[in-house]
Amino acid sequence: MIPFGFAYCRAQTLAEAVAEYARCMALGKTALYYAGGSEIITMARAGDIRPDEVIDVKDIVECRGMERDELGLSIGAACTLNQIKEAKLFPLLGLACGRIADHTNQCRITLGGNLSGSIIYHEAALPLLLCDAEASLFGPEGERRVPFADVFQGRLRPLPGEMLVRVRAPVWALAAKHAHIKKTTNEKIDYPLVNVTALFYGEALRAAFSGVCAQPFRSERMEAILNERALCPAERARLAVAALPERAHADVEGSGEYRAFVLEHTLKKLLEDWELGSL
């Protein structure tokens, strides 16, 4: 039960959605683009947010569906995590989507919602960071296409009034060797204590992380260490953890020190599997 009211608008076109957003802003009201809604509903119930209006974007054609062509895969921001997983078009992203929340919620939560929300993990972002994905956004100034990494720093950071429409993954990433390892405190259905997502560009390991620090990230420095194949896996894992871009995150699920330990162990296993050719 949400103890306050808000208006609900179901937009049919990008232009409608953006215009409605702008109209709210002009009236001094707060509007939120709304897709799966799970985070907006829970936060509104808890009193953490109080939007005057939500603008449902799920019906907008440009936000829907997945398209595979010779250059890659384009995914609508309103696709649910479950749709992405079941489509099996981008296996690594499918693995990531299949471990966010639980299956029923995966049938509601959208890719755009997971990337844009305020819950800090944004696990669907990791494969997109690794594959140099492109993001397509739509705002008052029209469409904008940018490298995904440019609009995702910790969370999706669109311009005011702008919404994510699609993301595009290059074709090489769809068939590349990969690994997705999510460690939780001890219940499988949980936020990540440590999420290590790895994608191989040729024989170069790319890795992005969630849960370890207060926001998800990809680190060139850590990748360089992980690719130092002259060093043994244990050593590379140790050095990579030492190169974390910020202090490991600490909360009720686990201390920073413990997260670093789990990360090191996870990286070591990952590197060992790589050496053994069992990825």
Binding site: Y8, T42, V54, H103, C107, I189
Partner: protein, 160 residues
């Protein structure tokens, strides 16, 4: 574009029937089903999407009705536990396997099973079954009976 502000009459298709309800745009579907249609099978176990006791089926997929606005349900096909009829394979399996104790989580588990049967008419592999059922919590049973109910639902459980 459709826009609602304040209380509005919504037309919902629930259990195969067209129903009219009066709801605010910020009302979640669970409360509307329970308070206005008397469909109290969907239970408010957490109102946060964590327990699954309010699960219903929307267009053939499981959906936590505490995390869906009633306005969003317009134009979609809603099935609640009350719509299963009483002699469905899911319900019979749960009775035969004694897959509940207090019964509070039961509707939610049944609706996950109903959607699973819709999406996977043939029994999927165990990992898939587990993934679907991991959306729900049961505090009474040890889950073994619920697993057994799923097997029975697919006609492969122990004979009764």
């Amino acid at each position: 574009m459709v826009r609602y502000e304040g209380k509005t009459v919504l037309r919902l298709r629930v259990n195969g029937e067209e129903r009219e309800v009066l709801a605010r745009p910020s009302d979640v579907l669970m409360d509307v089903l329970r308070d206005q249609l008397g469909l109290t099978g969907a239970k408010p176990g957490c109102r946060n999407g964590d327990c699954g006791a309010c699960t219903i089926v929307v267009d053939g997929w499981p959906n936590k009705s505490c995390l869906m606005l009633a306005v969003e349900a317009e134009g979609h096909d809603i099935v609640t536990v009350e719509g299963l009829g009483g002699m469905s394979a899911e319900q019979r399996a749960f009775v035969e396997a004694d897959a509940f104790q207090c019964g509070y989580c039961t509707s939610g588990f049944l609706m996950v099973c109903h959607a699973m049967l819709t999406q996977h008419p043939q029994m999927p592999e165990e990992l898939v079954i587990e993934e679907w059922l991991q959306s729900n919590l049961c505090r009474c049973t040890c889950y073994a009976e619920i697993r057994e109910a799923v097997l029975r639902m697919y006609g492969t459980g122990k004979s009764s």
